[in-house]
Assembly symmetry: none
Homo-oligomer: 206 residues x 4
DNA sequence: CATGAATGAGGGTTCATTCAT
DNA sequence: CATGAATGAACCCTCATTCAT
């Protein structure tokens, strides 16, 4: 047998590509640079990916899938809407906010290469459901029509991502924690709920 | 008169550049394309701008200035914080949301070419002041520390821009009006105020 | 037996190579494509052939040998010059004209990779001899000097091949049968002979 | 005004391209080589031609047009079919046979890049007409159907080109003069005519 | 000052061949 | 011996910028 396609190399390429695409954008990132960073000859990139576009598409898809499956897994394991929301606020979002490279690519490049709207729709669909569950659970009337709820969720999602992104890349002095805190507060006020970190299995002060 | 004609060309270049940068991004937009669209020889572009980067910087600066001076002008002419907020919701934001090219450039390119954080800070500074005025005017306690308020405003600003942008370029089915409506509602709920369009000098149903 | 199987692979490679070289030319045909078509790993190609050039050289040599030995065999079995000529016109040429892939390679690639002139010379030598035999047999004076005869034969050979080739690849509307008919007519007129198909062991109307 | 597109450069590029395409084939000839030979930077090639394919197409079209308009011009100026045929044999074909690069490209590359069959058809159409005129003029019956005449002419045309080409590139020892002589002889025998060089305005011994 | 051809480094991609497995 | 990933020079082409005209 010849050498087999090395999943490790594939992952290394994807990781380097994510960093470079995030930093320089799709056009600004070069295949030669990428290969150099992974310590591979240029041609090898094309052993693992058909072309530059396929590469960024893969970065986007795998990045999104990682986030989304993490989210659905988290949601499945929580007993109540309240706990699910707490997990989002204390686990899912902080995790996502850690990955500024992914955020940059999702915000700056994704819409040019994949159908980002389908992804956003499935996300807002999921969260709208959660919000309705939470409202029912807390006995709060959901006065919003769905359309407004989706606008609100999209605005919060994209806005928090962009805030986190610019905080790092542009030196905006807004810590991730403030963004999380504001989101938490908004939910707590809207649904008269206390999203205590302990609901997410974290120590009280998180 | 000669001066006049030159300024016209400069503006034509800027207008075309804005469109192209918005559509294709900085790297994707070519100087030759640009010159072609304006009906000018390539060399002439360099009579008005030192290079491509100076050109996009100018697009960004003038775009932002247009928005920001419009905003300050609007704020100056209103008698109360309530009216100022109404103007933002019913005039300033809708106007900005109309200009998706500008939005795209601000979100996708600005941070690479200009100090976007200073701009955002002066904007949030302005609006935080307005919010405090409004809270005082309405007798509402502003429990938020400034840091959280700035995070909140940045999130709302960037989130609404990104939502509007993706609604157009990615076919996300969220109308500008829903975004505006959600922002309005959020403010009204937070400050127990009614941002009637008539406060912004518009007919009631706007 | 093992040897048998190997020879089968070698032939399969040669067959696929002939098709590909004919269709795309030497540079346009890729080793990976070739391997794919034969269902062999790329490395195996190099087990049977040193490199791409050796491969096309082999295609050319075997193709030519197939034609040439077929020709000599046919000529050996005929009793008279007239019959030999009839066999060429009614069996050898039609057979060759069927193999447009071989024709394409001979015309388009052969001169770059093998000494095509030696092949053509041995062919024209053979046929010049046949022509002289035929002239003697028919009592016709061969006024041509050998040099002219060789030019004539080369022109007819290459011209008929190219006509047949272009008829297929460029949609030139000239059927093989017309080419054969013209060649037959030219010989019949020159040597006052009737190249009846039956002389070649074929039914009268062929 | 800036420098204007220099027709001299364009011609120099075409000339070098013709040489290179003839020698190495389309794929074997490189743009960098070409540019080097003309003494131009690579990019300048693309000032004059859209891409490599456009370049070879232009070589083919201009080469063919040069030959074909030369042919029609020559035909127009001759008083009789006999003289026209003499001009073809003594002027047009020798001129064409001089340009082995053009011949190589027409034979080896043309069918991949332009509709060579249309060109051949217009050529054979022209010559079939001439042949009929000559037959009428000489009182010779044209027993051939048109289809056979076209096959014959195509065979002669392509065959003579290929013979001349291989004489040079493969060292086949057949001088152009022999090819011409055979063509002349074929015509003279078929139409009982004497294609004396003086009919083409040349000295008797040509 | 206006013009657009000139420039050439750098872009993404291919592919014959090798050789670790 | 079989395999197919590895290799990297070479391919065609683009494009921001300059500068001769």
């Amino acid at each position: 047998m010849a050498r087999e396609k090395d999943e490790g190399k594939r992952q290394a390429i994807l990781a380097a590509a994510k960093r470079l695409f995030a930093e320089h954008g799709f056009h600004g990132a070069g295949i030669a640079d990428l290969a150099g960073q992974v310590g591979l000859p240029v041609g090898s990139i094309y052993t693992y990916f058909d072309n530059k576009e396929a590469l960024i598409r893969c970065v986007i898809e795998e990045g999104w899938d990682g986030f989304f499956t993490g989210l659905t897994k988290v949601l499945a394991e929580a007993p109540s809407a309240e706990a699910r929301m707490a997990l989002i606020v204390h686990r899912v979002l902080p995790g996502l906010f850690e990955d500024v490279d992914l955020i940059s690519i999702l915000l700056l490049e994704a819409s040019r290469f994949v159908g980002i709207e389908a992804k956003l729709e499935s996300l807002t669909g999921l969260v709208v459901g959660l919000v309705r569950d939470l409202a029912a659970e807390r006995g709060v009337a959901m006065s919003f029509p769905d359309e407004l709820a989706r606008a609100a969720l999209t605005l919060f999602f994209l806005g928090s991502l962009d805030t986190v992104r610019l905080s790092r890349v542009a030196g905006l002095g807004i810590p991730k924690e403030s963004v999380i805190a504001f989101i938490r507060l908004s939910i707590e006020n809207s649904f008269h709920v206390d999203l205590d970190p302990r609901l997410a299995g974290l120590p009280a002060g998180a």
